[in-house]
């Protein structure tokens, strides 16, 4: 099978971490219970590692589990130490982990990135056929750089960050763009799956859940739902690794990628920032410098 050599080496690397006592948990994938789906799995010893799989169905972003795993208990026991967690990481998982380290959500010395040679994952088309997932076809970083352990193998070639689909969307007149945006967002049932699946959404109390003050209504009126998505996405600007965890989690099949990519494209164009790929010390919107581009300040009245 296509990936069995990498899978073997991956299992061996994971087991070795337990054998050497350098990890408490290894986060990876195991076989799913529904067709064409592998799923996240936490191994806690060598025997558990036998369950790991590495195939074209390993789509979830595993970094999403890290903030909660590293959260200090409310009443830590005597001598509490953060867990040591290893993650079997695709390029996107790895980029997310590097982002979380930058944002102090994960202690660098407590996480081990096992970089996998990702050949891209598959998703089902509307007719039920397997095809390369969009995020993978457009992926600029199939193997995360700077990992602690690298499982050798042939990864897919990185795509160019040309954001063709975003540019095509931007070329449309405003009214049409808004119509498309509204059409997609009106499918939203405010289940919050997009937020929970995203590694970057780790706020203890999300702005959308705050009641005093209430920034938006929990009811699913279109205006509030648009506000939710807009603000959530803008919170991702310069941090989003375009992994499509939100897209995959959304039960309603909303094309969130079109909009998250727009922000990622802008972050690259305006700040030269591609999280986990470019070497910014902090996400671009965390700092301000005098010579930041001001091209974003536009007059909507101007044609």
């Amino acid at each position: 099978m296509m990936m069995s050599d990498a899978e073997k080496k991956m299992k061996a690397a994971a087991k070795k971490l337990f054998a050497e006592g350098t990890a408490d948990v290894v986060v990876g994938f195991r076989e799913g219970s529904r067709p064409n789906s592998s799923r996240p799995y936490f191994a806690r010893n060598e025997a558990d590692c036998e369950k790991f799989v590495w195939d074209k169905y390993c789509r979830a972003n595993l970094a999403a589990f890290l903030p909660a795993l590293f959260e200090k208990p409310a009443r830590p026991k005597e001598g509490y130490k953060p867990p040591r967690i290893a993650v079997i990481a695709k390029g996107c998982d790895g980029r997310s982990i590097l982002g979380l380290v930058k944002e102090h959500q994960v202690a660098c010395e407590n996480v081990v990135i096992i970089a996998m040679p990702c050949e891209g994952m598959v998703s089902l088309s509307s007719t039920g056929k397997e095809e390369t997932a969009r995020a993978c076809a457009e992926c600029v970083c199939p193997v995360v750089q700077g990992a602690d352990l690298v499982v050798p193998g042939t990864a897919k070639k990185p795509a160019k960050a040309d954001y063709a689909r975003v540019k095509k969307f931007e070329a449309k007149p405003f009214a049409e763009r808004w119509k498309i945006f509204e059409r997609e967002i009106s499918k939203c049932i405010r289940c919050n799956a997009c937020r929970e699946a995203c590694p970057n959404c780790y706020c203890k109390v999300c702005f959308a859940d705050q009641r005093r003050p209430a920034w938006l209504s929990p009811a699913n009126g279109l205006s509030d739902t648009i506000a939710y998505h807009m603000v959530r996405m803008f919170h991702q600007a310069g941090r989003c690794v375009e992994c499509d965890a939100c897209v995959n989690a959304c039960p309603m099949g909303i094309d969130l990628r079109l909009f998250t990519q727009k922000l990622a494209a802008d972050a690259l164009a305006l700040f030269g920032s591609a999280p986990g790929v470019s070497d910014d010390k902090v996400p671009p919107l965390y700092t301000f410098s005098q010579d930041d581009s001001e091209a974003f300040i536009t007059d909507p009245e101007e044609k």
Partner: protein
């Protein structure tokens, strides 16, 4: 029970005739797949779909509804329209879910007027399944691809015709009232129906539910539940798509000089579902919330309503981003 037949080629005529009496809603083609929507002359009715993404409960218990308004002087009940709706082509699992929700919202010391009104105004014609999906396990939860529970009429999709069978008095009256749209069944059609029912009932995934309530009572070790919930993201997708989940929140929203009181779907899987103003959270851990969900469906509902609150539709299995599978959870409980 007698059967009435509609030739498949006359389906649109049938719908047009019913549409004169009531609003008709059913499975129509949409860019995203097959959805439950108004059937208009321009709609494309699809009878070969697996199931809607969204659960049928939303027709009687909407995601968000205004239940009362305050105009600065008094709180007044919000009235909804009184339209009769004929639902055509609902899957038996979805129809059964309404029979269960009746126990919560209608057959109760406090009848819910909002649910009850929509319920009374609805006629449900369900459509037996010819091809259950890989994640379907309706037979195991007391239903089945041809279950009649919750339906007023059940229809069977044969090669060239649709067989209608009345289930409730309301359904009987409907068939009688529209007798001229139907004809009597041919013997081979009756045989075709029997074969269909027996073949599809063998296709659903078998899940052991018997004994789950007793087994759950004994499953008190939190490590079991912590383990199941380990990869749970607390996203709520399972709850929002589940036909029998009915947790909600009531919420005041200022509107001009007054306010509206809204009812919104909520999820026990959300971390702050039972968090109190003092900050205390009785279900602080994901494992506790996972346990609550499973107990509610497979232990508390059976105790209070004599019904397992799961129709085996498999939506939660398909929707879960971490592929947490209720079938595996139950197997682990009973093991």
């Amino acid at each position: 029970m007698s059967f009435s037949v509609l030739d498949s080629k006359n389906l649109n005529k049938f719908i047009a005739a019913i549409a004169k009496q009531a609003r008709v809603r059913g499975p129509v083609a949409d860019a995203s797949g097959v959805i439950l929507s108004d059937i208009t002359p321009r709609s494309s009715v699809i009878l070969t779909y697996a199931n809607f993404k969204l659960p049928f409960k939303r027709e009687f218990f909407p995601q968000c509804e205004v239940i009362s308004r305050y105009d600065g002087a008094a709180v007044k009940e919000e009235s909804s329209d009184n339209n009769v709706v004929v639902y055509f082509g609902i899957r038996p699992c979805d129809a059964q879910s309404i029979a269960m929700l009746d126990k919560v919202f209608v057959d109760d010391k406090y009848a819910d007027p909002y649910f009850q009104k929509r319920r009374n105004n609805a006629l449900i014609i369900s459509l037996a399944c010819n091809e259950p999906a890989a994640t379907c396990f309706c037979e195991s939860t007391g239903g089945g691809p041809a279950s009649k529970s919750g339906s007023d009429v059940i229809a069977y999709s044969l090669k060239q015709s649709l067989l209608f069978e009345p289930v409730s008095k309301k359904g009987e009256d409907f068939i009688k009232k529209n007798a001229k749209l139907f004809r009597a069944p041919a013997q081979k059609e009756l045989q075709e129906r029997e074969k269909l029912v027996s073949v599809t009932s063998s296709k659903t995934h078998a899940v052991k539910i018997d004994g789950s309530r007793a087994a759950l009572a004994k499953k008190t070790d939190s490590s079991f539940w912590d383990n199941i919930a380990e990869t749970c993201l607390g996203c709520g997708a399972c709850t929002f798509l589940c036909p029998t989940c009915h947790c909600f929140d009531l919420f005041d929203e200022k509107l001009g000089d007054g306010s509206a009181r809204l009812r919104l779907h909520d999820a026990c899987m959300f971390a702050s579902f039972v968090k109190e103003a003092s900050g205390h959270n009785p279900r602080n851990k994901k494992g506790e919330r996972m346990r609550q969900r499973v107990m509610h469906k497979f232990s508390y509902a059976p105790e209070n309503f004599n019904a397992v609150f799961c129709v085996g539709c498999g939506r939660c299995i398909s929707a879960c981003p971490s592929n947490i599978d209720i079938r595996e959870t139950l197997a682990g409980v009973i093991a």
